[in-house]
Amino acid sequence: MLNTGDILETIKMVDDQNLDVRTITLSLSLLDCADSDGKAAERKVYDKIMRRAGGLVKVGEKLSSELGIPIVNKRVSVTPISLVGSPSGNYLGLARVLDKAACEIGVNFIGGYSALVHKSMTDAERRFMETVPEAIGTTEKVCSSVNVASTRSGINMDAVAMTGRIVKALAERTADRDAIGCAKFVVFANAVEDNPFMAGAFTGLGEGEATVNVGVSGPGVVAAALKACKGADLTTVAEVIKRTAFKITRAGQLVGSKAAALLGAEFGIVDLSLAPTPAIGDSVAEILEIMGLSSVGGHGTTAALALLNDAVKKGGVMASSMVGGLSGAFIPVSEDAGMIKAARSGKLTLSKLEAMTAVCSVGLDMIAVPGDTSAETVSAIIADECAIGMVNNKTTAVRLIPVPGKTVGDEVNFGGLLGSAPIMPVSDVDSGEFIRRGGIIPAPLHSLKN
């Protein structure tokens, strides 16, 4: 039987409220492509991506058109290249092959130029990390991530120091493009193995051969639902978000399961995410402001975000057979029109963003900072974020962009979904000695919770 109201509601969500499936990401194991002959490894990686992911873009377009819902990104994630490339040490060759394959199959990003060094680092991993600036700076579609901390093992401060230097090196290498290389490099604490979102997606070692993971979106849909219940108390607000998140997630579950069947892959997870875009009406900040804050960044922002994040998960969990990834509301500054506005006016600061990351997914994301920010300061910011993730048993991440030659008051424009951002001030306190100490910040105690 036809339910006109439901059908029109769905159409309105897509047409007017920017409902989309943000990404279908094919997570591909490349463990069987490792080879002590670097050229043979390149060949195996290329062949496998072409064979297993060759039809991904076409499948995405077909589903999008048949179901009537946009699928914005089609992407591939692979086993950390620090492992696949270790027998040969041909990391850069593999980066170029990933880029070539990604261009040929038409995906917009391929993730997995990654290393997991949260406790310690092998010699091979150290050599791999040293290749990241060149690999990311000289390829177009390859994304890189490094896990430097976990709740069980603590924070590897040697790796934190190194990632600060990588961020700076990437900024210098891509200085002519507003340091866009930094947008393709993310540093994690408690990285997840089934994340469909870039730049941090990689195929974890616990994953299967080929798995479809889906990232949903829909801040505009949540915002529209909340506008309709103006004046209601926060209990009602949470209920409305839950109900809306359920519907959004169901769309992701449907697309993911159909895509997996068409690609001959397993269906993995739906990432219960509220991922904004720079488009007007597709902003997480706007949702917080509809709740009653005159601007995101003011007092109350963390509480409002905690409510939003939790309600999104509660609504989404029931809508999907399997959930995972980075599930939660994302707060990337340059990719969210409301965040950009608040950062520009000075109402949203780095300190407030750091507090917000304690209650939402994922971390300090897409934040442009002055070009003269030192590698040690970048590392210190990463260390703070890792501490939040480690202690709170959650995933946190940092994607900072120290834009060479720019300072507070300037703006950068990355274009497309990466958006634009004002340069935000960082503290001028010197944390260099703390970072240079290196070593491990030990894992926290799991009793005496205070």
Binding site: N3, T4, I7, E9, E66, G68, K247, Q253, M318
Partner: protein, 89 residues
Amino acid sequence: MKAIVTVLGKDKVGIIADVANIMKNYGVNICDISQTLMQEYFTMIMLVDLSAATVDFAELQKNLAASGEEIGVDIRVQHQDLFDSMHKI
């Protein structure tokens, strides 16, 4: 295969007749119709069966959109699955 056809546009004489005729031309069987006016906008939703359709889904979509443009309405066809998924547990 079942699909949902939605027809949206400014109301005028003969929209149902025109759309039904287009469906007939492509061998699309109309199983259920719901039609209403929202303000002055004509809104029609049809549940259709495509098992006897003379063209494949992508072509049908393209042709319906083009035919809709000719008679001044927006016609789209989507799998029923999305609506069922989002609104039924």
